[in-house]
Symmetry: D2
C-alpha cells in the first residue's frame, strides 16, 4: 500500500499545473498550488500517508458532511427533507437559481451552500454558538483530534467576501426555510469552513463513515448506521458539486470536496481517504486529488459499483 | 429468501393505491395499477420470484441502460461525453430546459430522454435498423430470453404521442448533437421502449450488471468491467429521474425505472432485481416497487453505501 | 371630463372585490381594499379628481421612476446600462433567477427591485443619506408638494420583511454591480418606497413626464427631454412587472405601478394620471386601477399606439 | 425630407461593417452586408426613398406582424391570449426555455418564433394552404403590391435548416397549444418568412398600421383600429427580440425586425417606415438600420414617448 500511494502521488503530481487555487476568498489564493498529499485510514486502524499529507488546509465544504450528520441526528429524515431535498443538481455550488425556479423553493441538497446553511440551522442548540460547538465537537471526534482550530485569517476572509452566501441565506429567510439571524448563522458556517485539518484528519473522518458511525478514532460509537448510509448516499450523488456524476463514473466512491483543495472519500466497510491538492478544476474540485483517487480506485478495485 | 419476498410483496401491496399508471401514452393507461411483483437473480444462478412477476410489461426507460451500454462499447467514454454528460439533474425526465440553458447544450445524462436518444444515435450500425438490432440483441442476451418481442400496441401509442421526444430530438439536431433523421431515430427509441418483458427478464438483465458484464445468462461475457461500472454509476446518480437522490438515500442501489412500472436494481457482485408496479409516483417511478425495494434493501443490508 | 371620471370610477369599483391587498409587507395588509380614486393633471394645469383620490398611500415601486430619472441625470445612459439593462422581463418583480442565468449578470431593468436598488447606488451623493435626499427632493418637485413625508409604520414594516431585497442586493454585491453597504442602501430603498402620496401627487409627477421634464408644478424645468423619453420608454416596456405587455395592449400608456395600489400613467404631451386601488391582481398591479385606466384610454383615445 | 434621409443613409452606412449577415440559414448568408436603404410612406401618400431601397429581401420575422393581425381578426383577443401571451421576454427569438419553465406553457408573445407559429395555427382556413393564402393576401394588400413572390431558394434553405422551429412546434404540440400537423404548419411559416419585398413594400405595410388599418394603399380599410393598436403595442414591447427595451429607449417607435435585414417601424398617425440593412447585431436586428432609425427619430422628433 505504501508503495502504491507513493507511486500514485508522484505520478499525479503533474496535474497540479492544470488547476488553479480558489481566488474568490483572498486568503485561499495564498495556498501553494503545487501540493498533493493523501492519507488512508483502514478500518482496524492501519494508517497510510504519502506526499504533502501533513500540510494544513481548511475544511471548507467538507464541513457540510458533519453538519448534515448532526442535522440528521437531531431531526428525522422526514422533518429534514421538508426543508432540504436530497436531489443532485447540475448547477454549481453557490447557485441561487434553483431556489427560485423549483416549486418547493428549498435547497436541492445539503452538499451545496444553501443546503448546508439550512442544515446548520436545524442542528440542536439553544444558540448559534451551541450549534457551532455541537458540529465542531462532531468533527473533532470524527478526526480523533481534539486540537483542531479555526484558521482565523481564512475565517475573516470568508466573512468579508461571503456576499453570495448572504444572498442565499436571505433568500431562504424570505421563503421561510430559515428563521434565525442570517449574519449569526453565516458566522457559524464561515467558522466551520475555516477549521484547519490535514489529510490524516480527513481520512479518519471518512473512516468513521466507512464504519457506519459505529467506531470513532477513540473507539466510541458516534452515530447510527442509517445516518451513515444517508450521508454516504448524499455524498455519492451530490458531494462533488456538478462534477458528482463524473466522480461516480471515474472514481466510484462517496466523496466530498472543498475549495481548500481537500477531498474526503469513503470506501464503505473498508477505509477512509483524505486527499489534499489545492489546484482546483473549473467546478471547484481538486484536480490532481481527483486523478489520484481515480487511479487508486482502479488499481485497488475500490468502486462501490 | 422466498419467505422474505413473499412477505414484502404482501406488505407493500397497499402502496399500489397511492400511485397512478402513466396516462400520457394511452396504451400504458390500460395497465392494471394493482400489480406488484419481484424477481431476484442471484449470481450463481439462484432465481427467486414473488407476486405478479410473470405479468408482461414494457421496458420503457429501462431500455436506456442497454442502449447506453452499447454506446459505451462502440465509443470511448471520452468521445461519448462530448455529446452526453453524466451529470445528475433535478429536472424531470423529459425536460428540454437544460438543453438550452446549460452552456454546452448537450443532454445532461443518458438516463433521461434526450440523452438516451443521443446515445442510440452513437451506437454502431450502418442504418438505424442495425442500431436497433444491436441494442435489441444486447437486451435479449442480458435477459437470457431470445423470445422477447415488441408490444405493437404500445409502440404505436408511443409513436403517436411522442411529440415531446420529437421536440427534444429536433432541438439536438439544431445544435448538432445528432445528425441523423429524427423520425427514424425516434422510431428506434420507441421500439426499444416497447419491448415486452417480465420481472425475471429484468432481474437477469440486472444480474449481468451485478457480475460486471462478465457472465450472461448463457454463460458468455457480454461487456467489460469498466462499462459495467460506468453504467451502474450513472444508474446510481441519474436512474430514477429527479428521484435519484431519494432512491440513493432510501434504497442505496443503482436502479433504473420505466413508466411501464418496472424497476431494474443492481446489488453489485451479488444479485440483480426486477420489480413491477405500474402505479407510479409523481416523478414517474413505481411507487410500490420503490417501497418494496426499500424494505428489501434494509432487511438484507443491500445498500452499497 | 369630470363626468367621465366620476362615471368610470363608479363603473369600475366592482373590480376591487377581485383583487387582494399586498400582504407580504404586514403594514400594507391594513389598507382598505375597497378604495378607488383617480387624479388627472392636464398640461396647462387643469386638475381633475374623482373617487378616493385624497386617501394617502405609499409610493412603493412608483418611486423607481424618480430614482431612475436621478440616476439618468447623474450618469450617461451608456454608463448606466453597463450595470442595468433596459430589457423587459417576463419574470416577477422580485425575481433573482435572471440575475444568475443571464450572461451579463446585471439587473434586467430599473423598474424591477434589483434594477432600482442598483439605480439608487448610481445616484450622486457623498453618502447614502445624500442619495436619498436627492431622490426625495426630485419626488417633491415633481409632485409640487413640499410636505411629502415617509410613512414610518410602512417603512419599519418594509425593513423588517425585506429579506428578498437583501438577497437581491447581496447577490449584486457578490457580482460587483453594487459596491456599497447593502443594509444602508436598502434603507434608502425602503424609505423611498414608504413616501406617502395621494392620487393628485402622482398625477402631477406623471404630468412632469408628459411635458418631457420641461415644466414642473412650480414652473421650473426638472430634467431634459431625452431623460423623460428614456424614462417613459422604460415604463412602457417594463413598468407593470410581467404585466407590462398586457398593459401596453389594453391601456397603451407608459405606466408604473406600486404594491401600495398606485399607478402612475403618462399621456405624452397631454396629461399625467394618478390612480389608487389597493386591491392587486396576482402580478402586483392595482386591478380596479388598471380597468379604470383601460376604460379611460379607450374612451378618450389616449393610447400612444 | 429627401435631403434628410439621403444624408442619414450616407452617415450611417459605416455601421454595416460592424454587423454580420445571418448565417444559420445558408441562403441568407449570401446577402450583401454593405446594403442600407430606407423608404418612408407618409399618410396622405407621400413616398420617400433613399439608398438601397429597391434591393429585394425576404420578410422573415416581419411576417409575424401580418400573421398576428390575421389571427387577431379571426379570434377575440381573449381567445388568442389563452394560447399566446403578449409578454415581452428577455430571451432570444428562438428560445424554448420559457415554454417549459413558465407555468402556463404557452408562447410568451406572437413576435417570437413559437408565438408566431401558434398564431398561424389560429388563423382561419379549412386547410393550412388556406391559412397561408389568407396571410399572404393580407401582406399583399398592406404592401399594395400584388406581385409579391416567395423566394424559392430562401424557402428551401429555411425548410432544410428549420430544426429549432420543429423543436418549438413539437413542444407546443405536446402541450396542446397547437393540434395540427407540425410539418405542414411550419411549411406555411417558412413560406411567409420567404416572401420577397423591398423597403417601399415594408414602408407601405407600416403605413397601414400608422393609419390604424383604416386605409390601405388601394384605399380600402383592412382591419379595425383596435387590432392595429394591439399589433403596435406588441411590436413596441416585443418586436425587436431581446433588443425591444433598447429600441424603445433609443428609437421610441413600434418596430419589427427580420433576420433578412429588414425593419418595419410605425409612427402612429403619421408614417410607415421600411429599412434594409442585412448586417445584423448579435440579437438579430439590422445594426445600421437601427442606427438610421435612431437618428431619424431624434431629428424629426418621432418618438411616441
Amino acid at each position: 500500500m505504501q508503495n502504491t500511494i507513493d507511486r500514485l502521488v508522484k505520478k499525479n503530481r503533474k496535474w497540479v499545473k492544470k488547476g488553479h487555487v480558489a481566488t474568490y476568498i483572498p486568503e485561499l489564493a495564498k495556498q501553494d498550488p503545487g501540493l498533493l498529499g493523501i492519507s488512508i485510514s483502514e478500518l482496524g486502524c492501519d494508517q497510510w500517508n504519502a506526499g504533502d499529507w501533513q500540510v494544513p488546509f481548511t475544511l471548507q465544504s467538507i464541513a457540510k458532511v458533519p453538519a448534515f450528520i448532526c442535522a440528521l441526528q437531531d431531526n428525522t429524515l422526514e422533518v429534514l427533507t421538508r426543508k432540504i431535498s436530497v436531489a443532485p443538481t447540475a448547477n454549481g455550488f453557490n447557485s441561487i437559481e434553483n431556489l427560485e425556479t423549483r416549486n418547493e423553493q428549498k435547497p436541492l441538497n445539503p452538499m451545496i451552500n444553501s443546503g448546508a446553511i439550512a442544515a446548520i440551522s436545524m442542528v440542536s442548540g439553544a444558540s448559534l454558538e451551541e450549534k457551532f460547538q455541537r458540529i465542531f465537537h462532531m468533527i473533532k471526534k470524527m478526526a480523533g483530534n481534539t486540537n483542531l482550530k479555526i484558521n482565523q485569517a481564512v475565517y475573516c476572509s470568508e466573512k468579508q467576501t461571503g456576499d453570495r452566501n448572504r444572498s442565499l441565506a436571505y433568500y431562504m429567510k424570505s421563503t421561510g426555510i430559515i428563521d434565525i439571524d442570517v449574519e449569526e448563522l453565516l458566522d457559524v458556517y464561515f467558522r466551520l469552513c475555516s477549521i484547519e485539518v490535514n489529510c490524516q484528519d480527513v481520512a479518519k473522518m471518512a473512516g468513521v463513515l466507512a464504519g457506519d458511525g459505529n467506531f470513532s478514532p477513540d473507539g466510541s460509537p458516534l452515530f447510527d448506521t442509517q445516518t451513515a448510509k444517508i450521508a454516504k448516499a448524499v455524498m455519492a450523488t451530490c458531494g462533488m458539486y456538478d462534477g458528482s456524476g463524473d466522480f461516480a463514473v471515474e472514481v466510484g466512491l462517496p466523496g466530498k470536496s472543498g475549495v481548500g483543495g481537500g477531498i474526503m472519500a469513503v470506501v464503505p466497510k473498508k477505509m477512509g481517504i483524505g486527499v489534499l491538492g489545492p489546484a482546483l478544476d473549473i467546478k471547484g474540485n481538486s484536480l490532481a486529488g481527483w486523478k489520484l483517487l481515480q487511479d487508486l480506485s482502479l488499481e485497488l478495485g475500490l468502486s462501490i459499483f
